[in-house]
């Protein structure tokens, strides 16, 4: 086999193998360097895979050399490419710029274990994306979840501990629900390979176990993806995690679960269960709308900057689901795009938060008064990403909102209602981002905040780069749009 055929396996194996090696490195400088190098390598592999996918390659891979339903198969398509890019990209950005922030939050002697856990989270998330086997998804979901619990538990505030415990309990329930679901499907089809399931499920005479399986899988993954109203674990977990962990996980973790949810539903269930597209839409659309409205409303009244952004994440998950619940090519294109663009915007926002946290001891809005005077560049990056989150033309966020509204308007009268909701919730985003901007630019600085300098150089440079990426992909949206529309065609192609 030549090298490029191994790419999907390497995407997982490289970070996976680096974790035990980092454990053995007892020096934390080396551990950081090894983790960053591995993460950049994973990013390079993801870029190579994306280029291949844009060329029409699918990278089929048989683990252990065993053919598909008997062994475990890997495969990549445009949808996976989007996810791989944001997973490895977010990890690389956070590690490259995050050293000062991590050094201030994680004690030196604990860092090698911390970076090893980071690599396991990266490997787990990539593993979920590239695999084509239902049970293998569960295994890698557990690797990524356990590693994320560890990362979040690294937060210096004691409230990180109850938050992470809650996340652990809800995450385990979600994973176990997923396990029940695939158990039922396996019971009725005798296979675990997703493509094989899709074929064999058609021969199942009795649909009720499959329907129940669809329910368990959807709820389990919705728990992991923090779909409203199962998002209870998310705000605190993101708020009290170390800032760099928030950058990494907020950009990609929940989206990977959403990816599995959509893939399972569109590939396996939709065409095989009578009326399932309708069930899917009627079940998820109200939840998506509620997520967008309610979580945005929470963000309006939240005073802690990090938690404000966390609630905004719940709302953004709502947008992604909303697009998918239209069950149309346009809607799914919008979802795929928003997965990518929201990762950019939210990653940048949390990077800016990490910059602020280097200089301000509290992230409450009133304590950030006048931050823009002492940290103009950080706040500039924050504003750009904020505009992208709102969906202002010229930024990446605009592209996905535009596609989303377009997709909604295809749906007739219901669509007009949805479009109104999207516009209204965007206005809510204007308000909550404005509250931060107002505090930072227009309030007089606290006396203690006069001598504050800009954030450390490496962190600031990465933050500004991430902000520029928001503008770049707002202007040159060809690649994400190509990937997302291809992904949407693929998902819809399974419905006949």
């Amino acid at each position: 086999m030549n090298f490029s055929e191994h790419l999907p396996a390497l995407q997982v194996v490289v970070p996976l193998l680096s974790a035990p090696l980092i454990v053995l490195l007892r020096s934390n400088g080396l551990a950081w360097a090894a983790a960053t190098a591995t993460s950049l390598m994973a990013f390079a592999i993801a870029v190579a895979i994306t280029l291949g996918v844009l060329d029409g390659q699918t990278f089929p891979y048989s683990m252990g050399g065993w053919p598909a339903p008997y062994g475990i198969a890997l495969g990549v398509d445009s949808f996976s490419a989007i996810l791989l890019l944001i997973v490895s990209g977010a990890s690389s950005f956070a590690l490259l710029g995050g050293r000062p922030s991590l050094n201030s939050q994680i004690e030196a002697h604990r860092q090698p274990l911390f970076y090893a856990a980071w690599m396991l989270a990266l490997a787990g998330l990539s593993g979920i994306v590239v695999t084509a086997d239902a049970f293998n998804i569960f295994v890698f979901m557990e690797i990524s979840s356990l590693a994320s619990y560890v990362l979040i538990a690294g937060g210096p505030d004691r409230r990180a501990l109850p938050s992470v415990f809650k996340y652990l309990v809800m995450g385990t329930i979600g994973a176990t629900f997923y396990l029940i679901g695939i158990g039922l499907v396996y019971m009725m089809t005798g296979t675990l390979n997703l493509a094989d399931m899709e074929v064999r499920i058609q021969g199942v005479a009795d649909q009720s176990p499959i329907l129940v399986a669809a329910g368990f899988i959807t709820i389990g993954l919705a728990l992991k993806a923090a779909v409203f109203p199962l998002h209870a674990w998310l705000p605190n977990a993101y708020t009290y995690a170390p800032h760099m962990v928030t950058v990494f996980l907020a950009a990609c973790a929940t989206k990977v679960s959403l990816y599995v949810l959509l893939r399972f539903d569109f590939f396996v269930f939709q065409q095989n269960l009578a009326g399932h597209a309708f069930q899917f839409a009627t079940f998820l659309m109200p939840l998506a709308v509620l997520a967008v409205v309610v979580a945005s409303a929470y963000a309006l009244f939240e005073r802690n900057l990090k938690r404000l952004l966390a609630f905004s994440s719940v709302a953004q998950i709502g947008y992604i689901l909303l697009g998918a619940s239209l069950v149309s090519t346009a809607g799914l294109t919008a979802s795929g795009l928003h997965v990518f663009n929201h990762a950019l915007a939210k990653g940048t926002l949390f990077l800016a938060v990490a910059c602020l946290a280097m200089r301000f001891s509290s992230l409450h809005l009133q304590d950030l008064s006048g931050a823009a005077k002492s940290m103009p560049l950080t706040m500039a990056a924050f504003c750009i990403a904020g505009l992208s989150l709102i969906g202002v033309p010229g930024t990446a966020g605009f592209i996905s909102k535009w596609y989303l509204i377009g997709a909604a308007l295809n749906e007739g009268a219901l669509g007009i209602g949805l479009a109104v909701i999207i516009v209204l919730s965007s206005l809510m985003a204007v308000v909550y981002i404005w509250r931060v901007v107002e505090a930072a630019y227009f309030h007089t600085p606290n006396t203690s905040a006069v001598n504050i300098k800009e954030a450390p150089r490496e962190l600031l440079i990465i933050t500004l780069l991430a902000a520029l990426a928001n503008i770049y992909f707002g202007v040159n949206s060809a690649v994400p749009v190509a990937l997302a529309s291809d992904a949407a065609n693929l998902l819809m192609g399974h419905l006949q």
Partner: protein, 325 residues
């Protein structure tokens, strides 16, 4: 006869589970959980799942209980009753169960050889294993080769737990070698546990090694062996005291074991890649592909055993050596 016994066991399982939830003494709850695991293991055995039964007994009833008990020693042994939204929980739970029962009415009944599960993939494993891998235990063949990538993931889950426990419990310490609780005489002053225990330790280790290397022929393999050997060292540490236990295998060695086993497993995969096969395609390890499969399985099972043993012991010591606040 077996049917009656199975029904009896299943009923006991339910009763034990209710008792675990109802009792407010956490120590009793943990002991009941160990009984629950043993009953579950017996049940698995009746259902022809010997490997799973062995794992559940070693891991569920053995190691988990010890970890729970050492955590109890650091927290509290009594639950405090509290007002709660009981109706809501009953509601959520009931809905789940009704849905599940709805699904089970259409499930193929137990033991039906024509059920879809028994078709398709499963017979292929049973037919092809003698030819492709040539080891008697099909479970080991599937675990280590056909679905070896899952097992690799599982080893890294264990590693993640080990890293996690050490990371979480290293908070609030200075970073140097953790102080061992000074007064831990263990059970040295109890004559009977001391004599019996000392006699047992070498035999448990021997049995563990047997399970490790006999995994291709009978029930067993790296997970069970790793857990069993870890139990022997835990018993030793309980008898002789924590510091003696750590002298037998120091902490840094445990972490090296946990990481090293995972490296062996993934390393075998990298090696097969370099030799021109897919990741974890052991056939390329030898000119005869069946031999290659067997070598590969022995190597990765060793990796599994080392990681599981090291990780479980490291987790145990992380709890046991922690000072009570």
């Amino acid at each position: 006869m077996i049917t009656v016994f199975a029904v009896f066991l299943l009923t006991l399982l339910v009763i034990t589970a209710v008792a675990i939830v109802r009792t407010e003494n956490l120590f009793i709850a943990v002991m009941l959980a160990a009984i629950f695991s043993l009953l579950m293991a017996a049940n698995f055995f009746i259902l022809d799942a010997a490997d799973v039964a062995l794992t559940e007994a070693a891991v569920g009833a053995g190691v988990t209980t010890v970890i729970f008990l050492s955590a109890l020693a650091l927290t509290a042994s009594q639950e405090r009753a509290k007002p709660s939204a009981r109706m809501l929980s009953v509601g959520v739970v009931s809905v789940t169960v009704v849905v599940l029962l709805y699904a089970t009415f259409d499930k193929p009944r137990l033991g039906d050889p024509n059920a879809p599960v028994q078709q398709h993939v499963a017979p292929w494993y049973l037919e092809q294993t003698p030819e492709l891998i040539d080891i008697p235990n099909v479970v080991t063949a599937v675990l280590a080769s056909f679905r070896g990538y899952d097992t690799l993931g599982e080893v890294f889950v264990v590693l993640a737990a080990c890293i996690g426990v050490l990371f979480v419990l290293s908070a609030g310490t200075s970073g140097g070698p953790q102080p061992v609780r000074p007064e831990t005489p263990g059970l040295r002053h109890h004559l009977i546990p001391k004599v019996v225990g000392r006699l047992l330790v070498p035999f448990i280790i021997l049995f563990g090694l047997y399970v490790q290397f006999h995994g291709e022929y009978g029930p067993g393999g790296g997970f069970q062996a790793g857990a069993i050997i870890a139990t022997a060292f835990i018993l030793h540490a309980l008898l002789e005291g924590e510091s003696a236990g750590l002298r037998a295998i120091p902490r840094s060695a445990l972490l090296t074991m946990a990481a090293g086993g995972a490296i062996i497993y993934a390393g075998v995969g990298i090696l097969t890649m370099l030799l021109g096969g897919s990741f974890l395609d052991y056939s390329v390890l030898h000119s005869n592909s069946v031999k290659g499969q067997q070598y590969g399985i022995i190597a990765i099972e060793a990796g599994v055993g080392i990681t599981v043993c090291g990780a479980l012991l490291a987790i145990f010591h992380a709890f046991a050596a922690r000072e009570q606040s």
